[in-house]
């Protein structure tokens, strides 16, 4: 197990190195820059050049790349070019908003998706099954930006039940969380349903029933436990994706989260912010995938054997 974790950690570190390198050079390949004269028309060109030089931006890109690594290995993400404060402070300030909304969305999609899939599988071919499948198809087919527009139009503008923007009070969390969890719910419900149906056909379920185990125990202990392994694999990317913030949902509901600031820092060419958020995102994805793989190895011993 330890060997497996170490191997995965090394692979994760390699991923981070590639990610940082690719992101750094792609970012510098973008047209324009943080202090380009074509965008900051009110500031004299000489002043802009002096500012750029003070950040080391007059150096060749490979030199800047090495400097960035040197600072990074000392734990220094630099200061934001376009906003006040260090990158570390900015991330620490905006991440909690994304994490709160995203965390609620993860919990909500699991609490709704798994029971939905379970009921659909147990009442296969009945109304509940068709309703679940219909909802799951809608969840996969309707893009999140369409959904957020429709929901805010109906519930905020027309009915005036829920606030349109901001994060004040529990009511303002409802729309962003529902928008974020719509697609995951559809995926989780479909996945739970199909793996549950598969699990219920297995021999050990028949054995359990033949032994006289109650139907509740058969479903809860024997079938569901095995049907949930695909969900665990999905959980890693899901947690990483939702907690780091969604640009569409955050800009639609004016949530000052990381997803929104990431896109803004790209259009601002705020190099240090872009790199800081990319590293944070990448780190989060690597850790979440690692945790879900370890969980999977604990739940399903066959996976562990295959990896050792």
């Amino acid at each position: 197990m330890l060997k497996y974790i170490i191997k995965r950690l090394l692979a994760g570190a390699l991923t981070m190195v590639v990610l940082i390198t690719v992101a750094f050079f792609m970012m510098h390949a973008m047209p324009g820059g943080p202090f380009s004269p074509s965008e900051e028309k009110n500031v004299p060109k000489e002043v802009l050049e002096r500012i750029a030089a003070s950040y080391g931006l007059d150096q060749p890109v490979w030199k800047q790349y090495l400097t960035y690594w040197k600072n990074l290995l000392h734990g220094d993400l630099g200061i934001s070019y376009k906003t006040v404060g260090t990158v570390r402070e900015k991330i620490a300030g905006h991440f909690p908003y994304s994490a709160r909304v995203g965390g609620l969305a993860v919990v909500f999609s699991l609490l709704v998706g798994i029971p939905m899939g379970l009921i659909a599988a147990l009442y296969r071919g009945k109304v509940a099954d068709f309703a679940t499948l219909a909802l799951a198809t809608i969840g996969i087919s309707v893009p999140v930006f369409v959904l957020s527009l429709l929901l805010s139009y109906v519930f905020s503008s027309k009915l005036n039940w829920l606030p349109t923007y901001g994060l004040e009070g529990w009511a303002s969390y409802i729309l962003p969380v529902v928008c974020l969890s719509f697609n995951p719910i559809a995926y989780i419900a479909r996945q739970t349903r199909s793996s549950m149906l598969e699990a219920l056909e297995q021999d050990y379920i028949r054995t359990a029933r033949a032994k006289g185990v109650s139907e509740l125990m058969v479903v809860a202990k024997h079938a569901l436990k095995n049907a949930l392994t695909p969900i665990i694999t999905y959980l890693g990317p899901l947690v990483a994706g939702l907690l780091t913030g969604s640009f569409v949902v955050e800009s639609r509901f004016a949530i000052p989260g990381l997803g929104y600031y990431f896109v803004r820092s790209i259009s601002d060419r705020d190099y240090t912010m872009i790199m800081g958020i990319v590293i944070f995102f990448g780190f989060f994805v690597v850790i979440c995938n690692l945790v879900s793989d370890i969980l999977l190895a604990i739940v399903d011993p066959r996976v562990k054997l295959a990896n050792e």
């Binding site: 973008m30 198809t137 996969i140 640009f247 990431f262 896109v263 790209i266 995102f281 990448g282 690597v286």
Partner: protein
């Protein structure tokens, strides 16, 4: 003593109206029904899926409409009708007009051209890369496979928003760079499917026989392995099309995809946000177009999966 066998001659003396049942083997070699090919069988199963057929019909109609309508319509995507600005749906403008008096229906049709082109081209490119990469990785196996799969693992953990936005900014906002951005990593799913299928199939006896007969790597892949893995490959490609269409709509919605005055479903929806309260028709029709297309492709994908691999049908 002799073992009693069914001897035709022994019954020769029987009268003609008496015969032994089960001794007539003159039709044993006949085939009662014409034999069906695999693809014929798949079509038979697909045809029975009503939702998938409905989806197919919608996509075919939409494809024909978006090719023909801009040719025969009196309006263009950037031509203005100054007498009818922000008009609701009417006989003259079936989906109304926008704030510049441009016909919304024809703009949605141009959007359909863009969305469907991007969907099909991106899926075709992803299919090609995925099949070659996954096929080689699965067939060669061993160390080559390990290195190729590690590369795929790293690529798939890059945050997609980052490289998509960066590619769009570097190569400019046009259809080519949208396709490039979408093809950057979405072939990975197909490649993984192809790899596992090829790894499974390459130890089959017919592959061994072909190799003994002197077939090379390329011949084995193209003639034997890929065609037999086609079912799962088609299913994973079918789901790439709605993904590509969705991503394009998303990028245009953010304002970094297709640029004005050209219209895409995403940019039409985005342009309608500020005036959503007063002119809801500007929002409703592009949104209907997006959702209808996504539904249709997802239904087709589900139908194909059930038809190509009946084991998966639940």
């Amino acid at each position: 003593m002799s073992v009693q066998t069914l001897d035709h001659d022994a019954y020769a003396a029987l009268p003609p109206e008496m015969f032994v049942i089960g001794t007539d083997d003159s039709h044993a070699e006949d085939i009662p029904r014409p034999s069906t090919t695999y693809w014929h069988d798949v079509w038979q199963r697909f045809r029975r899926d009503k939702l998938a057929i409905a989806g197919l019909v919608v996509i075919v109609v939409m494809t024909l409409l978006c090719i023909v309508m801009p040719m025969v319509s009196p309006y263009t995507y950037d031509g203005s009708d100054y007498l009818n600005m922000n008009a609701g749906p009417s006989l003259q403008h079936p989906c109304g007009t926008d704030q510049l008096g441009r016909d919304q229906f024809i703009r949605i049709m141009y959007g359909a051209r863009i969305s469907l082109t991007i969907g099909f081209v991106a899926a075709a490119i992803n299919f090609a890369i995925g099949v070659v990469y996954g096929g080689l990785s699965g067939y060669l196996g061993g160390r080559v496979d390990m290195v190729m799969m590690r590369i795929v693992d790293i690529l798939s953990s890059l945050p997609s928003l980052l490289y998509i936005v960066l590619i769009m900014l570097i190569f400019g906002s046009n259809m080519g760079s949208v396709i490039l951005a979408l093809c950057f990593t979405s072939w990975i799913g197909t490649a993984r499917v192809v790899r596992s299928e090829v790894m499974y199939l390459k130890h089959s006896e017919y592959v061994l026989a072909s190799r003994l007969a002197g077939a090379g790597t390329w011949h084995l892949l193209v003639q034997h392995l890929i065609p037999n893995a086609m079912g799962p490959i088609i299913v994973s490609t079918a789901f790439l099309i709605p993904n590509a269409i969705f991503s394009e709509a998303f990028l245009s919605f953010l304002g970094i995809g297709i640029q004005a005055p050209r219209a895409s479903w995403g940019s039409l929806a985005n342009a309608a946000i500020p005036v959503m309260q007063m002119y809801p028709h500007l929002m409703i029709f592009p949104v209907i177009a997006i959702c209808l297309t996504m539904f249709s492709f997802n239904f087709i994908g589900d139908g194909l999966r059930d038809a190509l691999d009946p084991r998966l049908k639940k």
